[in-house]
């Protein structure tokens, strides 16, 4: 009995020690554990692929960081960062005033307009009047949630909030909701997929509101980590200048995703 307890205690101590040693130099890069093409999506061998995965590799190589990708739940990604479960977020997170109260961001690394899609054959515009009386799906804790609640929710539309973008798209295809608001680039990828091709089409981009929609997507880091921030900013600048950003972007997009 006593021996067993000793063994258990020893095992635990070893586990903790091993975990401590392994994490000494690594930087854990968090992103949402969900299919979010073309930025991050799982492939059939259990690896993650997509534009953002390649961007992360390029930045980490440039900044000489030993990065490990760590999928976490999107709705808990900021708490995961602040409680040190991850060290940075490369997960299509827009830089907004609201988030800057809690965490810090690097410079932007891409920018996307915000679009609304809906079923084919139903004409409406991506304006508060167009969405009135409809149910619009958004992903939780995104800029789109805030935007849709302010512009559509308060003007007679129902805003339905999903844990992942994929679920919102799926419910649109299943006819459970009438529209989905999200990053136009991600929506475009959905519209090109088999499911999206069949059911839905782009209804247009929404009117910009920089206070809510933010100024581009940046790498989320904890406040006060200025060394890391400087390293990341330098790395983003370097890969923009040495052409590697363009090289891997070409595989996914036929335009410059960095924006103006």
């Amino acid at each position: 009995m006593k021996k067993t307890l000793n063994t258990i205690a020893l095992t635990f101590a070893l586990c903790i020690a091993a975990a401590g040693v392994a994490s000494a130099e690594q930087v854990k890069v968090g992103f949402a554990a969900e299919p979010y093409p073309p930025f991050t999506s799982p492939d059939a061998s259990g690896n993650w692929e997509g534009w953002e995965v390649e961007f992360q590799k390029a930045v980490c190589a440039e900044a000489k960081l030993d990065c490990v990708i760590t999928p976490v739940a999107w709705d808990g990604i900021i708490p995961a960062l602040t409680s040190k479960k991850i060290d940075m977020i490369i997960g299509s997170m827009s830089i907004t005033e609201e988030r800057l109260k809690t965490i810090d961001f690097s410079d932007k690394y891409y920018n996307t307009p915000t679009g609304v899609i809906g079923p084919k054959g139903e004409a409406f515009e991506a304006t508060p009047e167009g969405i009135k009386g409809k149910t619009i799906g958004v992903q939780v804790s995104t800029v789109h949630q805030d935007y849709a609640n302010k512009y559509f929710g308060e003007n007679g539309a129902t805003v339905k909030e999903y844990q992942t973008q994929d679920e919102a798209n799926n419910d649109l295809a299943a006819g459970r909701i009438d529209a989905v608001q999200a990053d136009a680039i991600a929506l475009d990828a959905f519209l090109k997929s088999d499911q999206g091709k069949e059911c839905c089409e782009m209804k247009g981009n929404v009117k910009d509101d920089p206070a809510i929609l933010g100024a581009g997507v940046g790498i989320g880091i904890r406040k006060g980590e200025d060394d890391l921030k400087a390293k990341l900013n330098a790395a983003i600048k370097a890969i923009r200048e040495n052409g590697s950003y363009e090289t891997f972007s070409k595989k996914y997009f036929d335009f410059d995703i960095y924006g103006g």
Partner: protein
Amino acid sequence: MTEPATPDATTHAMAFTPEDLPTSDSFFKPHRIVLLLLAAALVFSIAWFMRWDWLPRYLPRLGQGILVTLAMLVSTSILGFLIAVPLGLVQVTGPWPLKALAKSFCTVIRGTPLLLQLWLLYYGLGSLFPQFPAIRQSFLWPYLRESWPYGVAALTISFAAYEGEVMRGAFAGVPAGELEAGRAYGMSRWTVFRRIWLPRAIHRALPTLNGETVLQLKATPLVATITVIDVYAVISKVRQDTFITYEPLLLLALIYMCLTAILVLAFRTLENRIPTRGA
């Protein structure tokens, strides 16, 4: 009895039940007063030092969320119980095909996680429906578009399977002599069932039923993952809007503890009203 697992013991280990309720005089022991003071200090520091400024803004939504949770609990428990009675009964007396069917239903549902069943119904079945125009045009479509019917269905099925197992034991446990006595009085099979077998079985199942209902309450937050806005979903929204993690979750735990306590008290009142032969 060679039955391997007694569900009652495990249910009691997992769910808070009336026998765990403290009595009023149990608080007045010296060490308990000290512990209570310490707990009060802890609660005070949580209330004072943590952030609660978000609370007033979300109170109305929290109230609605609690109502949704309770509606889910009550509707699925009642529906589930109504399905559990025949499920238990055919396992005791039914012809073998029905018996096998009921048994495999209970095994499959009890052998897989509720979260998986819920997602199977909502994302799996739900994405099939719209491909059939007949369903899309039927009067059911406005309901099938919503998410709560899937939550109700999954929770009902799960409750029926667990409680069906309990009812099977309860039906089997009613002494044969009582049923024979009923027959000897010339009651028909249906009358025996209605007057003796069912009431006695429910009476036997009541303590476990109470535990199972608490477990059902503990299962309701899963429906938040399919966009039903229950109290768990409201708290998730607070967490996402404010980036505060611990305070909303602590409040949520407190809300569920209160709901459990109310449920358990209600069951105790119910149990006390049912006459039992005094020993």
